[in-house]
Symmetry: C2
Subunit: 354 residues, 2 copies
């Protein structure tokens, strides 16, 4: 961890026994470092779990920000010399900004000094640097980006949502294993139902890649329920929906677009007449609950899966509440031993297909 | 048109000069033939346009249904010996049910007896039979299925939505031309803005197929605005969104799923307390307008494009109002000369790329 230990400002606080150790990227995201540290304060105040927290980034920025929140004594600073801007091209940032907060944070996780890294920074850069430094787990070709999507039964786990635009059948099967382990670890679902996103539920639908993946998943020891359609993502039929990153990204952004359209139309209509306004006033609690239930911030924290280390991506525009959700996702992944579970599941998969 | 002319019940009504001639599939869809004929009655009653209408199907079913609605004198029956059920496998129905209402209807359009066919039947069978009988237009490899999607500015035209799960760059470019001609013809938009569905707006995003299509569209004489994302479908940024049929189908069904989730949650919350109920009562007109604006039935009528003949697919579950929208889509396509426009545009495209 070369860059992390050569600044005198750094305070080394020993971790409690078995306490999870979560490192936050102090930069990246629209409101960093303020939103990051406000979120951290929320988590520290509200959580009864034993945990050690660190923030990675420019010392001159982080010290006053931590002090202003009364967090300086509790939170370790892991110094970095620079950080990656949202406008930096990921490919260039990966190679040229090797002392960035994401690089330093990923190395700190790799070296075992921290259990997980949370960042709201540039997704492409975070994915590329994490892959470069942490490497993928045995049997996994590419890391995946995933997201919990609101559904009638609480949520559906969708992956990949943009890390891998072209997926082979083999990649789709690996995504299913990663999703399976994540829901076991982070949500405590013992045998999550896995669906393959397709254009119809019947066998024989879709591209050749998807058809072969379906056959392989059917033969696996996973709880594979078959093909599912876009509508099923939001239903209680399925816990995990697997697709390539192009399709997943389109589905995710389509979801955002429709939700904005509906809530925008609703707002316009509810202020269109005095009667409607009065109605909106009376039902405002109900309307607020709908908005909250569908808010991406409630489901913030997109895990990067398949890496030999835990990394969670917060939405760049998340507020403190949303960022706090991402921190909690990282904590759950560490506590439940996601990495070990994934290694085991990949081994079992390899044995069953031998 | 072998099967169409050998039943004594058939009444030949001459078309008015220049009147568009629309043939409806009397079977297919959840409520056929009742919904089909109720829709037809709505269109005949409300439209001032000169048009001739026909219904294709089993004479013994259609005669009493037309008589019951007082339509028997006005509407021509084009008899068919059988029809394709929603449960029939499309590939088998295409080959084995050659006297089905869709086969007979498509042949009637091919032979110039009718200008367009509207059907709420099995999408796969309708597409396959239309392609087999009508053939594609010069320069177009495969027909496309498209749909108008609700957006803040009224609607965005999305294609392909499921006819072609694997598309080459060349197919995506052809989709753009078909969409361009459709919006010119059916909506009167002179230079519709075309976007390529991708996982980011920057150049260099997405799969190789999408990247090459983007380069080719940039060099074309179409109004290509570049890459768009899932969120943009519902915005006023773009008029036409082009993607392969797998992605388009997922986007469409994701949209349906989110809309159902939001409206369902809203309904639940608005009946959760007396205050909320009172609010819902006062704002019920506003809520109804939201539901109507987003209703798929308002945007019903998915054109099959690229064929040498006009075919429009109505949603199988559409009500009479929805089916009437599909009939009007067919009428607009005929009036505006969609086929001729598409032939011209494909010629221009071929010349510009020579």
């Amino acid at each position: 961890m070369p860059a992390a230990n050569n600044t005198s400002e750094q305070v080394n606080k020993p971790a409690e026994n078995n306490a999870v150790r979560i490192l936050l990227d102090g930069h990246g995201g629209d409101g960093a470092p303020d939103i990051v540290l406000d979120a951290l304060k929320q988590v520290i105040t509200s959580s009864s779990k034993e945990a050690k927290f660190g923030v990675c980034g420019l010392v001159e920025v982080l010290v006053p920000a931590l002090k202003a929140r009364g967090l300086f004594e509790q939170v370790e600073i892991v110094p970095s010399a620079e950080f990656i801007k949202m406008t930096d091209a990921p490919a260039i940032a990966v190679r040229r900004k090797k002392q960035s907060s994401i690089h330093v944070g990923a190395r700190a996780v790799r070296d075992g000094n921290w259990d997980a890294l949370v960042s709201a920074g540039n997704t492409g850069a975070l994915m590329a640097i994490s892959k470069l430094i942490l490497k993928t787990l045995p049997g996994i070709d590419r890391p995946a980006l995933a997201s919990m999507i609101p559904a009638t039964d609480g949520g559906t786990f969708l992956l990949d949502i943009g890390a891998n635009v072209d997926c082979s059948s083999e990649h789709l099967v690996q995504l299913a294993v990663m999703g399976h382990c994540y829901l076991q670890a982070a949500e405590g679902i013992e045998s999550p139902r896995i669906g393959l996103l397709n254009i119809g539920t019947e066998d024989g639908k879709g591209t050749d890649v998807v058809k072969v993946a379906g056959t392989r998943l059917k033969a696996s020891n996973l709880n594979f329920i078959g093909n599912v359609e876009g509508t099923d993502i939001f239903s209680d039929r399925v816990d995990i929906v697997v697709c390539d990153g192009f399709v997943g990204n389109v589905a995710l952004k389509t979801m955002e677009g429709v939700a904005n359209l509906i809530l925008g139309t609703l707002k316009k209509e509810l202020t269109s007449s005095i009667t409607a306004k009065a109605g909106a006033l009376l039902s405002r609690k109900a309307l607020k609950r709908v908005k909250t239930a569908l808010s991406p911030s409630e489901h913030n924290g997109a895990p990067l899966l398949g890496l030999n280390g835990i990394v969670v991506k917060s939405h760049g525009g998340a507020d403190a509440h949303g960022y706090a959700c991402a921190i909690k996702v990282a904590m759950r992944e560490v506590e439940a031993g996601l990495i070990e579970r994934t290694i085991e599941a990949m081994n079992a998969m390899a044995e069953s297909s031998e």
